[in-house]
Amino acid sequence: MFGFLKKVADYTRDAADAANYLIQGLAVTFDHLRRRPITVQYPYEKLIPSERYRGRIHYEFDKCIACEVCVRVCPINLPVVDWVMNKETKKKELRNYSIDFGVCIFCGNCVEYCPTNCLSMTEEYELAAYDRHSLNYDNVALGRLPTSVTTDPSVQPLRELAYLPKGVMDPHDVPANQPRAGQLPAEVLKSLSLQQDSPQGDKRESLQDAPDQDQPKG
């Protein structure tokens, strides 16, 4: 009898809890209603990718020594290094190099391990194509420079959240000379070296003569 009553009480408490959580959830969504939209009107406005953005890979044919390290470190052995051994010079002769971006996961291992730094990651992310085979970039396509969002005249570049001044959420209409929150890597380095020079030196001072962070990415 009492076991049954306890069951009923537990059940009622569960139901009340569920209702409570539901109301809390509704409060959250209702609160979001009055916030401003953070929409970026994409083809006309674009966010500036961050410094460490891992976009399409850039490759310099002339620097490559065909060592195939990139192939070995790639989780899927993706880069195709097409070389022949020149019997006379006893050196590898590179003929072609390609990466298929339909398969690449943009992990950046190849870039990390390339001994001659001929690979690098760009900020290009618009890789849409009508045919997936056209995503297989050869060394010519890989050697093209990405178009920068900041230099494209038809695009309004907008800063990402990390580049906005402290407390600002909306990237529209932020004055260009407002610095982003926190320090740039260069500034951190500088302040570190200042600290090493004069251990008592105030970190803050180094901020004052920091370069203008209008465009965090070059």
């Binding site: 539901l22 509704l26 969504t29 979001h32 209603l33 916030r35 939209p37 953070i38 929409t39």
Partner: protein, 384 residues
């Protein structure tokens, strides 16, 4: 079935005015017989229902898009008309001109009949929605019962389209939809029954009239809070709105019974679901939120302003206030449904059936019993 009728568009409606009479008299003035005039009159209310339902859907679709966008801090449709108000039109137009595909191995006849069977009962149910004392298409005696029985036809259409598509996702979606509909129909009917018991009538007009004695305080929601919640949950489940949108759960079933549909047939489903949402909101407003009643009775206001209730001007104002109040309440509920859509995650099918059979059904039965007891104990407050 068309007995009393007065349009909400005319606005010039008083309780004594019979639009049908004046319509047929003006036609008889043109030399037509009364019977022909009656025949000419018949399609008008139906057209009006269709128009009202369509406009309601267009507004709801726009609201859904805009509110969803706001909740997710987006902008939503913006370019089609001011603030994107024409976006639903554009959607409809697109569906209208799209190719109507019938899959090769599908059953063409049932495939076409399914969406129709889903849509028609919903539109027919609009007959009983009152916007004022005389502002409804048909004051049928069985009122709210007509809606309950009509909405039980829908699962057949769903099963039909699910079966005819010859697609496993469609079949599963159709079965889920039908299971959901029949399990939530019962608590829904029981919740309605409690209200009907208090107002001693199935007619929607009587149900609203019984709530409008003392304005806000006499609304059924205070006397039937549990019934109100049960009804709202069940209505959401019947409309397949988000916590209960299992029949078309995109992640599992592609689009459920709509998977194979395209063009106008898909549009029929789309229309049906939104008309159903608006209809359910209207009925919640009618059953629990005092229908066309203003929070303070209009009669009192007229009394304070020293006006007679029967004066033509007051009549017109009362009528328009009634329409505005009904629509306002309904759209508040639509807003709540949209907000709930972005708040609650989808339930699993076993949770859904558990909620229906093990939670809502016993509670609805208990609610009915308690209502009956209260009606016997306090006939004054609970409609003796």
């Amino acid at each position: 079935m068309v007995t009393t009728f007065a349009t909400e568009t005319s606005g010039l409606v008083s309780s004594g005015l019979d639009l049908e009479l004046s319509f047929s008299q003006s036609l008889q003035g043109l030399g037509l017989s009364p019977q022909v005039a009656h025949l000419l009159w018949l399609p008008l209310p139906m057209l009006l229902v269709l128009t009202a339902a369509m406009v309601g859907v267009l507004v709801t679709v726009w609201l859904e898009r805009k509110i969803s966008a706001a909740v997710q801090q987006r902008i939503g449709p913006e370019y089609a008309g001011a603030l994107g108000v024409l976006q639903p039109m554009a959607d409809g137009l697109k569906l209208l001109v799209k190719e109507d595909v019938i899959p090769v191995r599908a059953d063409g006849l049932l495939f076409t009949l399914g969406p129709v069977l889903v849509l028609v009962p919903v539109i027919l149910s609009w007959l009983i929605v009152p916007f004022g004392q005389n502002l409804l298409i048909s004051n049928v005696g069985i009122g709210i019962f007509l809606w309950i029985s009509l909405s039980s036809i829908q699962p057949i259409g769903l099963l039909m389209s699910g079966y005819a598509s010859n697609n496993k996702y469609s079949l599963l979606g159709g079965l889920r939809a039908a299971a959901q509909s029949i399990s939530y129909e019962i608590p829904l009917a029981l919740a309605v029954l409690a209200v009907v018991m208090m107002s001693n009538s199935l007619s929607t007009v009587d149900i609203v009239a019984q709530q409008n004695g003392a304005g806000l305080l006499s609304w059924n929601v205070w006397r039937q809070p549990v019934g109100f919640l049960i009804f709202w949950i069940c209505a959401l489940a019947e409309c397949e709105r988000l916590p209960f949108d299992l029949p078309e759960a995109e992640e599992e079933l592609v689009a459920g019974y709509q998977t194979e549909y395209a063009g106008m047939k898909f549009a029929l489903f789309y229309l049906g679901s939104y008309i159903n949402l608006v209809l359910s909101s209207l009925l919640v407003a009618v059953l629990y939120l005092g229908g066309w009643g203003f929070p303070i009775p209009v009669e009192w206001l007229a009394g304070w302003l020293g006006q007679s209730v029967d004066a033509p001007l007051v009549q017109v104002i009362t009528g328009s206030v009634g329409i505005v109040m009904t629509v306002l309440k309904a759209y508040l509920l639509v807003f709540l449904a949209i907000l709930l859509r972005w708040t609650t995650p989808r339930v699993r099918i076993d949770q859904l059936l558990d909620l229906g059979w093990k939670f809502l059904l016993p509670i609805a039965l208990g609610n009915l019993l308690i209502t009956a007891a209260l009606k016997l104990a306090f006939p004054v407050a609970f409609g003796g």
